[in-house]
């Protein structure tokens, strides 16, 4: 009798959803709810601009929020999109090789006493707030580029349209350099985790055949980790496109499409950061800034989604968790 009462109570306890678990489920639902809420709010706020400009918004170079004749504003996102693409490409060209080098150094080369300190230093670089990067960029990097780097580039490679025009230090090149500095810690930490996830057997097989360290990396580690390295590049790209403060402080903020990397330009986030508080009741203008935000959200969302899926796929192949 006693025993069946215990059993009944135990069964009831097992069936009953703990009150506490409801908290957990609600909290887990918050994450998809926030995502949907963000998407809804930003689409809703950009409807006026989508109605007014349609697809032309993406290909027009006009940026006339308040026309002199009092007519409707004419706004196009192409200069901002162009600036975002160019600065991101510069950043990736500089940051990808360096990140790979840092990752290889930390995962393969560094003696074990140096591993923890070297990771610590790169983590510190990642922890510096972006507005401090911006201040450093504005008051140190911009004069440095103006006085040393840009004149050198101009005299050496001035025949290319990329390095023409007068330079005051503000521009796409400086923005690309500061973005590179900012994404190196992120990219290299993902690449390091990915390289560390390559199974020992892959390396040992290579070493047993008499390969040098470099041959081991080239013929077995990098091919195995390729998906993850691509994922690292995609994730770093997503981060570079959305970086706001540091870029806003060094790019010069001019709506212009020019091949010269020395000239001031703008990016999608820098336009939002600069002009949002200057809208002053101009509904379509405000909506167009939200549409820029929507474009940015869509790009960053896709990049991060793709990068994460690639990482998951590699972690199945490697047979272990890769946490980045």
């Amino acid at each position: 009798m006693q025993a069946t009462a215990y059993a009944r109570r135990a069964r009831a306890r097992a069936r009953r959803r703990d009150f506490f678990h409801i908290f957990l489920i609600v909290a887990a639902f918050v994450i998809p709810i926030i995502t949907v809420l963000m998407l809804y709010a930003i689409i809703n706020a950009s409807v006026d601009s989508i109605r007014a400009f349609g697809f032309k918004f993406l290909i027009s170079t006009d940026w006339i929020p308040n026309p002199a004749n009092g007519g409707p504003p004419s706004l196009g996102a192409l200069p901002a999109i162009y600036g975002s693409i160019v600065t991101t490409v510069i950043a990736l060209l500089l940051a990808v090789p360096v990140s790979l080098g840092v990752a290889l150094f930390q995962a393969e080369l560094a003696p074990s006493v140096l591993r923890a300190p070297s990771r610590f230093l790169v983590e510190m670089l990642a922890a510096v707030p972006s507005v401090v990067y911006g201040l450093w960029g504005l008051l140190f990097l911009v004069p440095f580029m103006r006085d040393y780097v840009n004149p050198q580039l101009k005299s050496a490679l001035g025949f290319l349209p990329l390095f023409t025009g007068s330079t005051n230090g503000f521009g796409m090149l400086t923005a690309g350099v500061i973005l590179a500095v900012m994404i190196i810690p992120y990219g290299s930490s993902i690449m390091r985790e990915v390289i560390a996830a390559v199974p020992r057997s892959q390396r040992e097989a290579c070493i047993a055949l008499g390969a040098t360290s470099w041959e081991t990396i080239r013929t077995s580690v990098i091919p195995f980790a390729r998906t993850g390295i691509i994922a690292a590049i995609v994730l770093a790209m997503g981060r570079a496109i959305g970086e706001t403060m540091a870029v806003t402080m060094v790019i010069g903020n001019v709506a212009r499409i020019s091949p010269s990397l020395f000239l001031p330009a703008e990016t999608i986030p820098s336009v939002i950061a600069n002009e949002f508080t200057e809208v002053a009741g101009n509904g379509v203008y405000l909506a167009s800034l939200f549409e820029l935000g929507l474009i940015l959200f869509a790009i960053a969302f896709l990049m991060n989604f793709l990068g994460r899926v690639l990482i998951t796929r590699l972690s199945f192949k490697a047979g272990r968790d890769i946490h980045v």
Binding site: R13, N44, V102, M124, G134, V181
Partner: protein, 281 residues
């Protein structure tokens, strides 16, 4: 044969030199930022710097008291939102692994990569535009939104590290899942969870973009959470981009204080968690 070996040796040496050089090159900006911030920011520091409110841009004297207050208030509000929801969501991911959990985790990872300025304009629409005022609360909500996925992921990772035998042992003793989670899993994973929370706090403390259109910035001390709030990061942006030399000195001083707070928190947390790890071995 000899030549081939020579070439292999050279390529190997090149690889070692390249990778080491990359690491050293990556450190140059860190050294430069620390050097510039310390040498240029040091001049601004004084007793008044911490006890007075900011002067108008370009003005003389004053301090960063309102920015310190604003930063702490906004980050505290963000923590009130971000920590409980993040920790509970992370616990859900660890407790109920499954399809839904997998997608929530993926979504959290994707959300943590969404540019922070997007979070800023979304909270502008949701709160500032509906209440018709910039406020400390809206700034806290924006940073809180950013904290949720970060804390959820780090909590999930720390709980995953607790070995299955401890968990099953507790359940086998007839302890309910709730009590197992609270008293067994969280107490084993405590240092990991706290590390994750502290790093998330350090991360949002350095954010500027989500505050531009929510907390807005202010030259005064706050009287209510419905008022616009100053913050260290907004102050660095406003004073750094102003065309006055003394405003720049002010910005460097604020940057030094911010770096001390953010990097200090990072260093304490990492050293403490490392000691804990070696201590338990």
């Amino acid at each position: 044969m000899f030549k081939l070996n020579q070439r292999r040796k050279i390529s190997n040496t090149l690889y070692v030199v390249f990778a080491t050089a990359c690491f050293l090159v990556a450190l140059i900006p860190l050294i430069s930022i620390l050097y510039q911030t310390i040498t240029r920011g040091y001049i601004a520091l004084s007793f008044d710097f911490f006890t007075e409110v900011t002067p108008p841009i370009g003005g003389i004297g004053g301090g960063i008291l309102n920015a310190l207050e604003g930063s702490f208030v906004v980050v505290a509000l963000a923590s009130l939102i971000g920590i409980p929801i993040g920790v509970f969501a992370g616990a859900y991911l660890a407790e109920f692994p499954g399809k839904f959990g997998y997608y929530v985790r993926l979504l959290a990872e994707v959300l943590s990569g969404v540019p922070s300025i997007v979070t800023g304009i979304v909270v502008y629409v949701l709160i500032v535009a509906t209440t018709h005022r910039f406020s400390a609360i809206s700034g806290g909500v924006a940073l809180g939104f950013m904290m949720i996925p970060i804390v959820a992921i780090s909590t999930h990772e720390s709980l995953k590290l607790v070995s299955a035998s401890i968990r099953e042992g507790s359940l086998a003793l007839g302890i309910s899942r709730t009590n197992t989670l609270v008293h067994v899993l969280f107490s084993s994973a405590r240092s990991g969870v706290i590390t994750g929370i502290a790093l998330a706090v350090a991360r949002v403390m350095g954010e500027t973009a989500p505050l531009l259109f929510t907390a807005l910035g202010s030259q005064f001390l706050m009287t209510s959470l419905n008022d616009p709030a100053a913050s260290l990061t907004l102050l660095i942006f406003d004073y750094g981009t102003a065309p006055y030399e003394n405003a720049h000195v002010f910005a460097w001083g604020a940057a030094l204080v911010l770096l001390l707070l953010v990097l200090g928190l990072n260093i304490i947390v990492r050293v403490a968690s490392r000691l804990k790890v070696t201590g338990s071995e």
